[in-house]
Amino acid sequence: MLRVLINQIRFTALQAIFLVAFLAAILAFLVISQSIRQLGRFGAIDNLGTIMVVAVIRELGPLLTALIVVSRSGTAIAAEMATNRVMGEVTALEAMGIDPYIYLVLPRMLGAIVSVATLMVVFDAVALTSGFVAAATSGMSLNRYTGIVLKTLSAGDVWLTLAKGIFFGAAVALFCSYHGLAVKAGPTEIPQAVTRGVVATIVAIFIMSALFVVIAS
């Protein structure tokens, strides 16, 4: 089970780091470049921190990270679970007295939670750095940028990121596992199960994201 957990973290987090970092860098650069241009016209450049923290760190970061994990690992989890079911491996586990939910689902859920939370931290770190690069190209100093961002960033944002990591990670593993294990007919049902799992997870993540906004406010 430990091996499955480690493999899950390696595949979900480690192998996705560059993709997450790349998207975080591009997104933050675009958002900050555009924001500086628009806010500068109204002399409201101090609101840059609010845009960075609220839009990128608090909302888009977790959403984008979770979507990357769904597209890479959620599909893999759903396909693997469905294959396990079709090949009779789930029945074999039950016949041995091993709970398939403990053996198959639990390590993937823990792996997904750790991975999503870690990737969100990576996303935030890269986004903040890339945001500074964008700000610097418009002539903003590091001190000013740091001051603007830190004025809006709070400890609550760290907890919110952690909470989103746990809930989004669990959603990826649970929804995809559920739809994978629900396969009954045979191998032809596997792609459909993957699609169902991914769609259900995306819907769940957006709903949870909205709920977090309601709870946090």
Binding site: L93, E94, M96, G97, I98
Partner: protein
């Protein structure tokens, strides 16, 4: 070494039915027809073959014995307990007393043959890692899997996969083993070897074994206690 993990409820229930036959099908409608009822009782140490054509009902005997399916009518008693009435988690614990070789092999494709054999020992017992290793190594030796123990199921041939699945089935030294069509694709020699190893318990005694088969070769007949022919869901005496 410690025995496999159990539940208090099961230990109490098992004590009530001590001495009961390992497996008994009582008026079970294998094909869902109330006029075709299946009855069969296995005594301790008995090796019984249920022989039948496709759709005769033998396909469901294994899953019913393990509580993986519930009969449309009648009861299946395993060591005296009506297995269909146990809760999901009691069933999981109870199945650790049984060995099961499903049709095909049921091996986990992402594990090596050795890890497949180790699976029940790791998860269903309180053995320490060193004890697990010793136990698994012994099973690997007993079932002559050592040269191919590191292979994944897809890399091994049918006979090796079946032997690994059989080793896994007896890993917890069960008193009852159910084998579903275990001889399909095996040579006569491999068949005899497999049955001989599965039916012998760790203390040198005999296990109760129920095996299903489409047909029986004379060599297999020499190793079994009796055979029943299943026709349209009903057990009839095998006169061969």
């Amino acid at each position: 070494m410690t025995a496999s993990r159990g539940s208090v409820f099961l230990s109490r229930e098992m004590a009530k039915v001590a001495g009961a036959p390992p497996l008994a099908y009582r008026d079970v409608a294998l094909l869902g027809r109330p006029d075709r009822l299946f009855n069969l009782t296995l005594q301790a140490g008995e090796v019984v073959a249920a022989v039948g054509e496709e759709d005769s009902g033998i396909e469901t005997l294994g899953t019913l014995a393990l509580g993986l399916a519930t009969p449309a009518s009648g009861t299946v008693e395993v060591f005296g307990l009506p297995i269909g009435e146990l809760s999901y988690y009691d069933l999981l614990v109870f199945r650790r007393r049984l060995g099961y070789l499903p049709q095909g092999d049921g091996l986990l494709q992402n594990l090596s043959l050795r890890d497949n054999v180790a699976l029940p020992v790791r998860f269903a017992t309180d053995h320490r890692l060193r004890e697990v290793d010793a136990k698994v190594t012994q099973l690997i030796e007993d079932f002559r899997l050592r040269p191919i123990a590191g292979l994944r199921p897809a890399q091994a041939n049918e006979e090796d996969r079946r032997r690994a699945a059989a080793a896994r089935a007896v890993a917890l030294n069960p008193k009852l083993v159910v084998l579903e069509l275990p001889f399909v694709g095996l040579t006569a020699r491999a068949t005899m070897d497999l049955l001989e190893r599965v039916s012998r318990s760790e203390d040198g005694g005999r296990r109760a074994v129920l095996l299903t088969s489409r047909d029986l070769t004379p060599s297999v007949r020499g190793l079994i206690s009796r055979a029943v022919r299943v026709v349209d869901g009903v057990a009839v005496e095998d006169k061969k």
